[in-house]
Amino acid sequence: MAELVLAAATPHNPLLWRTMVEPIPEDLLGVAGNFRAIADLIRELEVDLIVLVGSDHVRQFHSELSPAFVVGKAESYHGTWQNEARAFGMPYVEVTGHRELADAITGREMLTEAIDFAVSSEWRLDHGFILPMLYLTPDLDIPIVPIQVNSTLQPFPTPRRFAALGRHIADSIAAWDSPARVAVITSGHMSTEIGGPRQFLGGGSSDPDFDVEAVGWLADGDLDAAIAGCSYERVLASGNLSYQYVNVLTAFAAMGGAPADFAEATPSRYAPSPFFWWRKP
């Protein structure tokens, strides 16, 4: 059977792409080092496949049709949109998919009862997916199953559903007849505001109290507290884009709510960045 060997959570701040370059500026050394630590774990644990859980930023999915959870079933994906190449200097890329694992997660002819997934056979991935890949697997040599979680356009799934998604991914991997070694990687933010009065506070958080709590739930292995603490009202009060923090609950639940091996809101010039990881216990 396939094995879930690693779960991790990273930021996907695209502004890093122009600034976090050699020689790495001092204020970004922590972010660069934590991306490198997860990249090293992927190699050390001989990961064959990555389930990549991220949020589209109103590029592929907008209010014309905005599903809660979408699993990619394509053989490959184009990555980076023209506005991301323009604004952030990100490269256009091609990423290999993995249909068999995608089918194991959603069901092939009938959907799993765990989650009413939407599925996609053609989808251009934005920086919510590509940015972490460029740092974790720079050669893009590990196939992925992308899963879109809607944390950008209300109405959002509840935090309990993000945890259910994580448990379902773990169960699907455990039941999949394959020798693959799989990692679940989520991308998101700590408290974050874009386009509101609190954006770009020069490295400060839009809600330091939320960030402390949000790291603590994972460091302590308290999934119930994380779910309770991620009420819509509390998360949105911390920043208008903070709901992308909730993505981490999928990695957390995939690891059974165990305390993270590493849990940190890493400082940077932009805002504290989420870094969490768990080796399989």
């Binding site: 109103v58 023209q82 506005n83 323009r86 505001e193 874009i194 386009g195 770009f200 208008n240």
Partner: protein, 111 residues
Amino acid sequence: MSKYMINKLIRGIELSDATVQAYVADPPGFVTGWLAGGATQETRSDDRELTAEERAAFDTRDYAALYALGAHPYLLWHWVEAVYLHEATWPEMVERYRTAVTPIGWPDFVV
């Protein structure tokens, strides 16, 4: 008032370099062309309509007005970057934008 239509046009401008350039060169002309360019009865749905207030905000690149009208803040900020950074630096635009939207607070942007 339709927050969906505001976001649709913001996105329609910001996603591609060609539309950014066309809009910046002639905002009212671009908006007129956009409003006229929707779907016909025979094609996939693509409605396009703006109130007079929304139309005026797009005609003048008025980001404070669009923010107050409930534009999605993430989309709006990246639209501001796309249509203003040829005439101001990024730090200048960050501060100009903050100054403009702070008195407005946090409007309901749920579509």
